[in-house]
Symmetry: C2
Subunit: 233 residues, 2 copies
């Protein structure tokens, strides 16, 4: 057994040797994100994180009192990566002009591209949700929820204006998130090599599918059932 001192650090960067406290902290977070997203919170040991970062476990507990604190730190790190306000602003502008297509295209584009650029995120969120950690919930409260409400309100408005078919609005919003989310799950979770869809085609298809569905007048058949716009809080 050799010392692990100068092992070829697996970590994310060529950062080696002694770092400032802040730099090391950031590195540990990045390494932890990578490992947690691959193997989950419980599936990743502090030893692995330390090794991947090129330090000993003691360093981790120096920066983060507990393993849980390290996990929490990831939320802040990730939350800061999002230009969330700007995203919402763009959607609002499209909504102002009643440009349904631009709005939904922008929504899908953002979500699909985000997940393409950050494959770890969806795994991290799913692990968090499954393991009952607060990360996913906090994220939803902070980000998803707002967008969700925005879409909901917009669709309800367009329904009142007669532009959209009276489908169950909650189910429609659910579908809006479902399509891009599932697209990235197929990429990052299950390896459906035979079903891969390039980002731009996915975006185009989702947009068209959704819009055609929403704009359609009630078909001749009895497909339209009881439409609902209840609980419009």
């Amino acid at each position: 057994m050799e010392k692990t001192r100068t092992l070829p650090t697996l970590g994310t960067a060529l950062e080696e040797g002694r770092m400032s406290s802040e730099v090391r902290r950031q590195q540990l977070i990045r390494v932890a994100i990578s490992l947690f997203s691959k193997k989950g919170f419980r599936g990743t040991t502090t030893k692995e994180i330390a090794h991947a970062a090129g330090v000993t476990e003691a360093m981790i507990f120096r920066h983060f009192p507990t393993k849980d604190d390290l996990y929490s730190a990831i939320l802040d790190y990730k939350a800061n990566q999002l230009e969330f306000a700007q995203w919402l602003k763009e959607l609002r502008e499209h909504a102002e002009r009643r440009d349904d297509e631009a709005l939904f295209r922008a929504f899908f584009t953002k979500l699909v591209n985000y997940h393409c650029s950050d494959g770890d995120m969806i795994r991290l969120m799913l692990y968090s949700a499954l393991e009952g950690h607060s990360l996913a919930q906090k994220f939803h409260d902070k980000r998803g929820n707002t967008i969700q409400k925005f879409l909901r309100d917009y669709i309800l408005m367009r329904q009142r204006e007669g532009a959209f078919h009276n489908l169950n609005v909650n189910a429609v919003v659910c579908s809006c998130f479902a399509m891009p989310t599932n697209h990235s799950m197929a990429r990052n979770l299950f390896q459906f090599r035979n079903m891969e869809v390039p980002a731009d085609e996915a975006i185009a298809t989702f947009t068209q599918l959704l819009l055609s569905g929403l704009r359609q007048k009630p078909t001749s058949k009895k497909t339209s059932r009881k439409s609902s716009r209840k609980k419009s809080e």
Copy 2:
């Protein structure tokens, strides 16, 4: 500390005392499914399983050489619960008659209802996929893949027949699975209480949304982009 002998067994049933080997085995599997789905494979200890089943850990290793073997046993258990062949048969009949609506409605109904009746399943599958266990992959190879190919082939056929708009077929199939899957994820993973959608409304909405989207003729705008039906293996 008292003996755990006659503790009020937390397990799934009132099965107590000494069981036959087979009955105990089944009980352990059911208890394990419940716990694994709640806390994941690594997040669940053999001790917890044993306690929930009202036995000692030694019993678990009597029935299953390793913890992994217990996990694998779940696959067989779950796989046997599905009337998969019949499901496919029903879909084929609708396809025969080109009854698009009945076909997709049946597909959504099956998926939504299945997940409603078995909330553990989706969590189990997600954990399995995330943790890289074979369960999810095996399930997909065995079940999902067939349905996926069936839908794909049907949509391609309907496109050739001129009934469906030429959207990217992979993206459409992805959406078919996305909507009901996400619906049950919202229920069982994230507690979106404010967005709950009753099963029947979800089914109706998904069906209408998808069909309208597929049947629609290319809109006036330039939404239709490059349609693709490549890789038609």
